[in-house]
Subunit: 146 residues, 2 copies
DNA sequence: GTCCCAGTGGGAAAAAGTGGGAAATCTGCT
DNA sequence: AGCAGATTTCCCACTTTTTCCCACTGGGAC
């Protein structure tokens, strides 16, 4: 179970330390990709592959398949940690998440999210406002699914 | 698994660097052809035939198959990389994808797409809008296929 | 305090990317 | 056939990026 948060830095060479506590779960090789919000997602190679099942094998004649592939595969990046546990962050990902220097790594069960500190804090305070209604909707959904 | 993106340039002589990270998977000899959108597709010689299965591998008695053959095969160009990993881009392909100087290479599992940077960004933001519905349709399709 | 380790920063060599000259080849025209 | 202009190929030079180290810092344990 991956959880907790950690604050790290991006240096001039776009290197980022991957939190030590997550390293044993993920290994030395990671997949970094765009998140659905202004953030990044890091997953291990093994869970990445299971995520892709059923989408990438299909024919490129379908425009839906092409769209999904462009999002899932085109935006992803395969990175390896150096001996100090750092990896190189591609610039297109850095831009997508508006990362400057200080970033937050948040463990979310099966994957890790990366946020710019500032945006993370904004998200947190926004969360405080909307959490009650979110909880209500989730509860309704759960009831309907049964 | 081919994934990730990279930005390259087309120089005055219509030469383009093929990203290093893709080179080991593709080798020195590539096939470049028109994509179904405003883009190009690059395939390795070895996976070219398997990629075509299900598209042009079918009977030539079907006029749809013939049409697709004309598009994919008729527009294909066989190129070789120079010692610096560059290849020459035929002008009819350059025009098809509206390429100017900066292009994006996106790795999509078995092949690479080439886009003009501007068009790629537009595609990305369009993707953002339609991704939820795309995901739903793909999930439904998968359920029906079972 | 000292030791140790995770994290951070940076130098320098190597590799990759970019640009362009000049020879070689091709093309069309007289 | 022979020439002129354009295109392609081969090669070299410069710039930027990446990679591989090594050194420093700061906090926690002893």
């Amino acid at each position: 179970m991956i959880l907790g948060q950690w604050i790290g830095k991006i240096d001039e060479k776009s290197r980022v330390s991957f939190p030590k506590r997550f390293r044993e779960d993920f290994g030395e090789k990671l997949i970094v990709t765009k998140g659905l919000d202004r953030n990044l997602i890091i997953v291990s190679v093994t869970s990445w592959e299971s995520l892709l099942e059923g989408t990438v094998g299909q024919s490129f004649l379908s425009s839906d398949v092409r769209a999904m592939q462009r999002f899932l595969l085109g935006n992803a990046s395969f990175v390896e940690l150096d001996e100090k546990g750092r990896f190189l962050l591609p610039s297109y990902l850095k831009e997508h998440a508006s990362l400057s220097t200080d970033v937050v790594f948040a463990g979310l069960h099966r994957f890790v999210e990366v946020w710019d500190v500032k945006l993370w804090e904004e998200e947190q305070s926004a969360l405080r406002e909307k959490l009650p209604s979110v909880a209500t909707r989730l509860a309704e959904k759960e009831r309907n699914d049964e």
